[in-house]
Amino acid sequence: MNTRTLAHFGQSVVAMTLGLGMFVVAGAAQESPEEVVRSRNVAVKVALDAAGDSISEQVREELKDVINGLIDFPELSRRALRRHWDDRSPQEREEFVEVFRSLVRNSSVQKLEVYEVDSTTYEPAEIDGDQSRVVTTAHEGDKDVEIVYVMHRVDAEWKAYDVIIDGSSTLRTYQDSFQREITATSYAAMYTRLVERLESVGGSGG
């Protein structure tokens, strides 16, 4: 078997793994919140291990789906914009969510270290009605990083709207950034900059 054939075989394994991961996720409506987080992380880790140093475009796209499938982008967008969300029309909200989602998706495959750690421990989720917190700890060498997923139930599925890394909240960081930018310019100018940023990385809404 030559190397080209081997590479194609490897990519197929990754794709299948991801596909399996997606299947597992899709069927995970009844899973506990920590199971949801765990299964996605595992799927990503396995796919990365299989892909080795070279990740094809197809695999990259599928990774984006798996990684970001955990996030409730409409909820994250609503909370990040705060009162500015209330001032937006339904169409503006939809447009914002799409651009924001695309930007995060593009970014998510640039930082995969958190999935390549030695091991990750998962504590039982703290569930309060439709809200939950999943506390995980990523172990890499003698360094431990606590990652907390703040989740809620959407259509019987657990989705996260905040990821807190060692006390640093993703949602709060976005809140501060959007608030600062809108105060300095305007919502329209802020949205335009997001669109320009997306275009500059070769993406498009959606």
Binding site: I71, S107, Q110, V114, S177
Partner: protein
């Protein structure tokens, strides 16, 4: 009067001699005050504040600065360290300083930040930590809203930005420039009131000490230069004195030469000069008794009055000579001189003197004292020419020193004929006047003092050497508060103004000795502890990398402060500038400008912002500084300049009207004056000249002086009758031309001055007098001709 002089010439000469000796003695005691503050009344708030400041804390603001330049900086430090104790032993020196107590600021810099600034610092540290944590977050978009395209990053919450903020409180270790090739030693005066004598002695003492250390022993390339406000005052005074002597010699020589050329003999110029010299002694003697000293502008009046007063002698003697050359005897000559020309001279003298005396109403002493001395000088000059000169003529003729032979054909009669040139002269004059008006409207006022100060080569070199040594302005304003609470209230008021004034801010910093001990230190210390804990809890040292880690290292040095500081902790070097003459800590406040005060407009805005400070208690305090005085000077001069010109024109109009008793005639006599001023304005525009604090005094002076020519020509014309204009121009024309030229030559002396402001006075006066002479000789005869034609 005409009969008295020949008979009593000995008594006249004796009386004049006594008065001259007395006047000369008093004149020799006249002082010279080169401070610009001497140009405002002493009750002006900024002047009073400056006087109080100098009495209370002269040493704090009066400094000599010694700059040492060398490529071997350690050698300069050794030199300065050796010099300092030796300088401080001198009776002239309060203290000498070349370094800052950096450790104090390094340790306590964060205590000087406002609580809100410490909150922002906390946020900046938190942000840096969060950024590192979020760097591994796949859901975090890096640098989401980076800087707009083409613009640099300007995030005030960045650690980098904050490092710039809190390190501002940390001064440089030494008074040095950016490349450490120059070290400056500041030497404070030991005396509270730093007058010129003390300043000169202090400078010499410091020079001797520095020379005795032989700086070249420390490094072969050491260059030493002296500066500071003490040195500047000495230089300004020396330059002014030198200018007075130099321009005086030049002006007087020029005037005498002109007279010798005109009279083609030595005797008349000598007789006139002696008479005038007597009048000047009387004038300046009275000036000593009334004012006591001369200022930057009146210091040059000797040569100006010489040029002005000589006119009377020229007119008077020319008339005497004319009568004698036509065959008249001594009595007839004296009669024509004193009773006929004398009458015109009296009118012109009182016209001119009244115009100058009207300036007594002004606050600006450049106007009021100039007006008084000049008016007085002119009156005394007239008296001298009508009494002393005739007596000298009689004495000279009796001694055989003066002989005026009759000249054949020299008649006092003429053939009447019309002045043919009237129409073309009026048309040409109208055209020139229109152009001049257009130019005059473009003439500006010069607010920038850069080109109006005396800058000696040494001062220029000192400025080049010390560029970049001090980040703060070296010309702060100072507010004398009565207590610590008052000083804090002043600081609070000024800071309030700084926050509110975002459009035209003029204040950079405000500090009192109490600024060195921040208020409310406990909340600040608490916040500083919270920042330390944040760094510890978050393991920031393990988290941050690269430049941010370096910044954190430096920040942790500042974060070690854990105790409030008191006055006792403040280094003595920092307290020293705030000590009063009794050695107590003074409750005064320094206010540093953020704008270049050499531009008078900035000085005015700075004065408007902090010149008067009203405290919450209702008490009003005034800030003191030479630049605030300049601001008041500028406001006064601009306000009074217009008034002075209008007032002098009005006075001249009324006096001429009283003389000729005809409004039309009066307007005609004044027309060359008014037109001459307009032409002067047009010439200013063409030559790119501006009005300034100094040359503005020329405007009312031109009004007073420029009317003379018109009065003389008109009087002679009325004496000789219709058709005599060519005769009048041939006879009186040269006399008035020479008279004006002597005045011009007197002012030309000022053009030789090193002081740019005084040079500008000379230039403008020369232009103005030339213009009024031209209009008087060209346009007035034309107007007289046309007016007479219309009558018949």
């Amino acid at each position: 009067m005409c009969r008295f002089v020949p008979g009593a010439y000995r008594w006249v000469l004796l009386l004049a001699a006594v008065a001259t000796v007395a006047g000369g003695y008093l004149t020799s005691k006249l002082g010279l005050d080169s401070d610009l503050g001497a140009l405002l009344p002493s009750d002006v708030p900024s002047v009073r504040a400056l006087d109080e400041m100098q009495a209370e804390v002269g040493g704090a603001v009066s400094k000599l600065r010694v700059a040492f330049k060398s490529s071997d900086f350690p050698a300069l430090l050794r030199l300065a360290s050796d010099l300092k104790p030796r300088l401080e032993e001198s009776e002239y020196v309060l203290f000498a300083q070349f370094e800052n107590e950096v450790d104090f600021y390094k340790t306590n810099a964060l205590l000087f930040l406002e609580p809100a600034e410490l909150d922002s610092l906390y946020d900046a540290v938190q942000q840096a930590i969060d950024d590192e944590k979020q760097a591994v977050n796949p859901f975090m978009i890096d640098d989401l809203f980076g800087p707009p395209a083409g613009e640099p990053e300007e995030d005030g919450s960045d650690l980098e930005a904050w490092e710039a903020t809190y390190s501002e409180y940390e001064p440089k270790p030494y008074f040095t420039n950016t490349d450490s090739t120059v070290l400056v030693m500041e030497v404070a005066a030991a005396q509270e009131s730093v007058d010129l004598d003390f300043s000169g002695e202090m400078l010499e003492a410091v020079r001797e000490i520095v020379t005795s250390f032989d700086p070249s022993r420390y490094a072969s390339d050491v260059e030493v230069a002296y500066g500071g406000n003490i040195k500047n005052r000495i230089d300004e005074f020396a330059t002014l004195k030198s200018d007075i002597l130099g321009t005086g010699l030049y002006g007087i020589s020029g005037v005498l030469l002109l007279m010798v050329l005109y009279f083609r003999s030595l005797v008349p110029p000598v007789l006139i000069a002696v008479s005038l010299g007597a009048s000047l002694a009387w004038t300046f003697g009275i000036t000593y008794l009334t004012i006591g000293q001369l200022n930057t502008i009146t210091g040059f009046l000797f040569v100006v009055l010489f040029g002005l007063g000589i006119d009377y002698g020229v007119h008077a003697f020319a008339r005497y000579r004319e009568t004698r050359q036509a065959g008249g005897d001594q009595a007839a000559g004296l009669h024509d001189m004193v009773c006929e020309t004398g009458r015109a001279l009296t009118t012109t003298t009182f016209t001119t003197a009244a115009a100058f005396f009207s300036l007594l109403l002004m606050d600006f002493k450049g106007f009021s004292e100039l007006g008084f001395i000049t008016g007085l000088g002119l009156v005394f000059a007239l008296i001298a020419m009508l009494f002393v000169l005739p007596a000298l003529i009689v004495a000279s003729e009796r001694l055989g020193l003066l002989r005026i032979p009759q000249v054949e054909g020299k008649k006092l009669t003429f053939e009447p004929r019309p002045f043919q040139a009237a129409r073309p002269l009026l048309i040409g004059g109208a055209l020139v006047t229109m152009l001049a008006l257009a130019g005059l409207s473009q003439v500006d006022f010069e607010y920038d003092f850069t080109d109006l100060r005396i800058v000696t080569p040494e001062r220029q070199r000192f400025g080049e050497l010390t560029r970049g040594v001090s980040s703060r302005s070296e010309s702060p304003a100072l507010v004398l508060a009565a207590s610590a609470d008052e000083a804090e209230a002043v600081e609070a008021r000024v800071r309030e103004g700084m926050r509110a004034d975002t459009l035209t801010p003029t204040v950079d910093q405000v500090r009192s000795v109490y600024s060195m001990v921040p208020p409310d230190q406990e909340p600040r210390l608490r916040r500083i502890r919270e920042i330390r804990e944040l760094i510890e809890v978050e393991n920031a040292r393990d988290l941050l990398t690269g430049d941010d880690l370096d910044r954190l290292d430096r920040l942790e040095g500042y974060l070690r402060v854990d105790e409030a500081i008191t006055f006792a902790d403040v280094p003595s070097n920092e307290i020293r500038p705030f000590l009063t003459r009794t050695g107590e800590v003074g409750s005064f406040v320094f206010i540093y400008p953020s704008v270049a005060l050499r531009d008078g407009r900035n000085s005015i805005r700075f004065s408007e912002d902090i010149g008067t400070i009203t405290l919450p208690s209702g008490k009003v305090l005034h800030a003191a500084s030479a630049n605030l005085i300049i601001a008041d000077l500028l406001r006064t001069v601009i306000r009074e300049g217009k008034i002075a010109v209008v007032l002098s024109l009005l006075i001249v109009f009324l006096i001429v009207l009283a003389d000729v008793r005809d409004v039309r005639e009066t307007l005609m006599i004044m027309s060359p004056l008014v037109l001459g001023i307009l032409w002067m304005g047009g010439l200013m525009f063409v030559l790119g000249m501006k009005l300034n604090l100094f040359n503005i005094v020329v405007l009312p002076s031109i009004v007073g002086i420029g009317v003379d020519t018109g009065v003389h020509i008109r009087h002679r014309y009325r004496d000789e009758g219709r058709g005599s204009l060519y005769f009048v121009l041939a006879r009186t024309g040269p006399a008035v031309a020479v008279a004006t030229l002597t005045t011009i030559v007197g002012y030309t002396g000022l053009m030789m001055a090193s002081h740019p402001g005084l040079e500008s006075i000379g230039k403008l006066a020369v232009i103005g007098l030339s213009a009024t002479l031209a209009t008087a000789l060209l346009l007035l005869p034309a107007l007289l001709e046309v007016a007479d034609r219309k009558r018949t």
